[in-house]
């Protein structure tokens, strides 16, 4: 470290209080680390951050940095005040895809840490909001060295820019009784089918996959993913009657009425006079509430599969959009099932790549062209599960009615035949 330590009176105030302090962590890198390169980066980073706190402005600018063979995956940062803070003037982040479900051994974390200590700032976040490991802060040159090293032992960059982004999946089948699918397999089948689209940004804008094993949607997929997959089931909720009795005994009848029965969004439950829970499964919308409250007594059914919702995104440009149902239910067990879901993703991305405007998310395109045009583009038939209610506006030309109605009846006949042949 060539110069003296920058004064950081404002940042110092973030060292008090009981929550762990990131400032204390950066100071340890500045003061205690044996590598002078890291001391210098930490010192100048603190200096620039203090400057931001004093002036209430950011001083990082983007640019173009990548690794050989890829076009994305790095968030380039060049300091606008690099003359004052030269050791952190290049401070790029590498977005690295974590193992599906975010599982690590301490050995692997140490190995990643050692590589980063060798080539980077020593600052890392598990994980950023899209789901990447964020290796925060290195020079343009060391970006390549660090990537080469971790790529050799099995880690790859995630997406940055207009491309397929790093995906996310929940804790899932590995530890959760509500899981209705193999989240991690699906996560990898989806995103690893698009590695070219992850590494070489050429889409209208970003495209995110998220997989949640049940409708609790711990991955926030409906609100944050262009392609949300949610585990679900279509037979009856499984009821362990002995556990229902235990629950009622422990919590009381009124608790069950107030916190389970009356919270059902479709009023499909009732508590009988002899303390049995009756469920009108035909009207269960799989909201998960009763299973969450009585997780020992109630479980998802056996006939499991997934729902797909497309088009979720945050604010810019046209406002927040949630994903909408495009596939109400499909089985996800055989290799063919996995091939089919990957094919649906390919159809959706191809259609959007063709028809999306620059910087237009898939959901925004659907908003612009209408869901029906999108469905026709990706070869999926309409289904009443896709809407909260049918059209309210009479401003529509409907001279194809008879043909469209016939398509519906034809699909019904086919479904009946298929069911009969099983």
């Amino acid at each position: 470290m060539s110069e003296s330590k920058h004064d950081t009176p404002m940042l110092d105030e973030l060292e008090s209080g009981p929550w762990p302090s990131f400032i204390s962590g950066i100071k340890r890198l500045r003061d205690d680390h044996p590598d002078q390169r890291i001391n210098g980066i930490a010192n100048d980073l603190l200096g620039q951050l203090e400057h931001s706190y004093e002036t209430r402005k950011g001083y990082w600018k983007g640019g173009t940095v990548s690794v050989f063979g890829y076009g994305g995956g790095i968030i380039p940062r060049f300091s606008e005040v690099g003359k004052q803070f030269p050791d952190s003037k290049e401070f790029h982040t590498l977005r690295v895809q974590p193992p599906a479900g975010n599982y690590y051994t301490t050995d692997m974390l140490r190995q990643l840490g050692e590589s980063w200590e060798k080539w980077g700032s020593g600052l890392v976040t598990f994980h950023g909001q899209t789901g990447n490991i964020m290796f925060i802060g290195t020079s343009t040159e060391n970006t390549q060295h660090f990537f080469d090293e971790i790529n050799d032992y099995g880690f790859d960059l995630g997406g940055a820019g207009p491309c397929v982004r790093t995906a996310m999946s929940c804790v899932g089948s590995a530890r959760c009784e509500q899981s209705c699918t193999n989240e991690h397999r699906l996560h990898r089948e989806l995103v690893n089918n698009f590695t070219d689209d992850v590494h070489r940004p050429a889409l209208p804008y970003k495209f995110k996959f998220k997989v949640s094993g049940c409708p609790n949607d711990c991955m926030n997929s409906i609100e944050r993913a262009d392609f949300a997959v949610i585990g679900t089931w279509r037979d009856d909720i499984k009821v362990d009657e002995a556990e229902v009795s235990n629950f009622i005994e422990a919590k009381g009848r009124q608790y069950v009425i107030d916190n389970v029965v009356t919270r059902c969004p479709t009023n499909c439950m009732s508590l009988t006079d002899d303390d049995r829970l009756e469920i009108d499964n035909r009207n269960c919308v799989k909201c998960m509430h009763c299973l969450n409250v009585m997780n020992k007594a109630l479980s998802p059914g056996d006939d499991k599969g997934v729902s797909i919702l497309i088009g979720g995104k945050r604010t810019l440009k046209i406002g927040d959009l949630m994903g909408t149902v495009v596939v109400p239910f499909m089985k996800l067990e055989s290799d063919e099932d996995y091939e089919r879901i990957v094919e649906i993703a390919e159809e959706a991305i191809d259609f959007w790549a063709e028809n999306g405007l620059e910087h237009e998310r898939c959901g925004e395109m659907i908003e612009r062209i209408g869901l029906v045009n999108f469905l026709e583009g990706i070869g999926i038939e309409v289904d009443p599960n896709m809407v909260s209610h049918p059209r309210e506006s009479s401003y529509v030309r409907m001279d194809g009615w008879d043909e469209e109605a016939e398509k519906w009846f034809e699909r019904k006949r086919e479904a009946k035949l298929a069911a009969g042949s099983n």
């Binding site: 209430r56 140490r110 840490g113």
Partner: protein, 358 residues
């Protein structure tokens, strides 16, 4: 280096998590029966096979230095089974196959300053973005706001005293990378961008900047003889969408970039369909290093929710039941003309009924 000598990437994509997973989790994959919550920060999951796995969850500073990462690993090796995972809100979870390991693990984590908690009906760790530490367009810091806020909310992280879980998020600009939350603290700019006309022509691709504006308030113009852009300030909604593609259109302002607070975002389908967050407070000063004004409002909202909501009601469920007038009454926050939405589709947010709580 000659091109042919460059190392070509191995496009391996997302690694398989199974190789790092705790053996009890591998063995019982897809075969879990139920879970219990013996104390805040601890979950125990029981498998159909009769196996069980204990999870201890701890909050950290999220921006981890290598020393902290090693400390977390040391604890994982000495007191746990060497297998960890990170939650979507950046907490670390240690999995152990014996109950006897739980208490010493908690003790070791707490001794090193980590905070065990964040499960069930607690205030979870605040999910946040990069801010001044790394982002190119931030209106505020992220890690600092969250550190200051968690210092005040730590007891609610360590305990489960809320009606249901509370997810808080922060975002440093209106793109809102922090996402939806029961409570969200987001930058809200209040003045149009200040344009450095000398730089626009060299730095910005003008047609894409024009296309980026949600309200078509930007148009090409020649200023001081140079091609530039101008903003119709009457139309401008101060969202900052033009700033990322055109940095000379500076939107961040030390004085006029404020914080706004939103409530009721809920990603879960439980009890009701997922919901987006709604504006409740604006004009909150962006006041480093500890942002006391924002924290005070968050605490006010949490207090009202904690006292008034029923068991299992998330913030959105609670407000759906009591109505917005009561929310503003209970929190003491002002209701203004800015709370009435005028964006596309907003008519659906107006009350077109005689349902009025009087």
């Amino acid at each position: 280096m000659a091109l042919e000598d460059m190392r070509r990437p191995i496009e391996s994509g997302c690694p398989d998590g199974m190789q790092y997973m705790h053996p009890v989790m591998v063995k019982n994959f897809g075969q879990w029966k139920y879970h219990e919550h013996p104390r805040p920060g601890v979950l125990v999951h029981y498998a159909k096979s009769g196996d069980a796995i204990w999870t201890v969850k701890a909050g950290t500073q999220r921006i981890l230095d290598i020393y902290t990462l090693r400390k977390l690993c040391d604890i994982g090796d000495k007191y746990a089974d060497g297998h960890v995972r990170f939650t979507i809100r950046s907490n670390i979870e240690y999995m152990v196959s014996e109950e006897s390991k739980v208490d010493p693990l908690i003790e070791a984590l707490e001794k090193e300053g980590f905070v065990v908690g964040g499960t069930a009906n607690s205030v979870a760790f605040i999910s946040h973005t990069q801010g001044w530490l790394h982002c190119d367009i931030p209106g505020t810091d992220a890690s600092g706001v969250v550190k200051a806020m968690m210092d005040e909310l730590i007891d609610e992280f360590k305990n489960c005293r809320m009606p249901n879980r509370v997810h808080i998020t922060t975002s440093c600009c209106q793109i809102n990378c922090g996402g939806q939350g029961d409570i969200a603290i987001n930058v809200q700019h209040t003045k149009p961008p200040k344009i450095n006309h000398d730089l626009v022509a060299n730095v910005c691709e003008r047609p894409s900047v024009v296309a980026r504006c949600p309200v078509a308030a930007i148009r090409p113009a020649v200023v001081n003889g140079k091609p530039s852009l101008e903003v119709d300030e009457k139309k401008c909604i101060c969202c900052g969408a033009c700033y990322p593609p055109c940095p000379p259109m500076q939107i961040n302002d030390p004085e006029h970039s404020k914080l706004a607070i939103w409530v009721g975002g809920n990603h879960s389908n439980a009890r009701s369909k997922p919901s987006f967050q709604k504006l409740v407070a604006g004009g909150v000063p962006n006041n480093p290093p500890r942002w006391p004004e924002a924290t005070a409002i968050v605490k006010k909202i949490l207090k009202a929710y904690k006292e008034d909501a029923k068991d299992w009601e998330r913030v959105n469920d609670w407000i759906d039941r009591i109505g917005w007038p009561r929310f503003f009454e209970l929190t003491g926050l002002p209701f203004t003309k800015y709370h009435i939405d005028n964006w596309r589709g907003s008519r659906k947010s107006l009350n077109s009924s005689a349902y009025i709580r009087l």
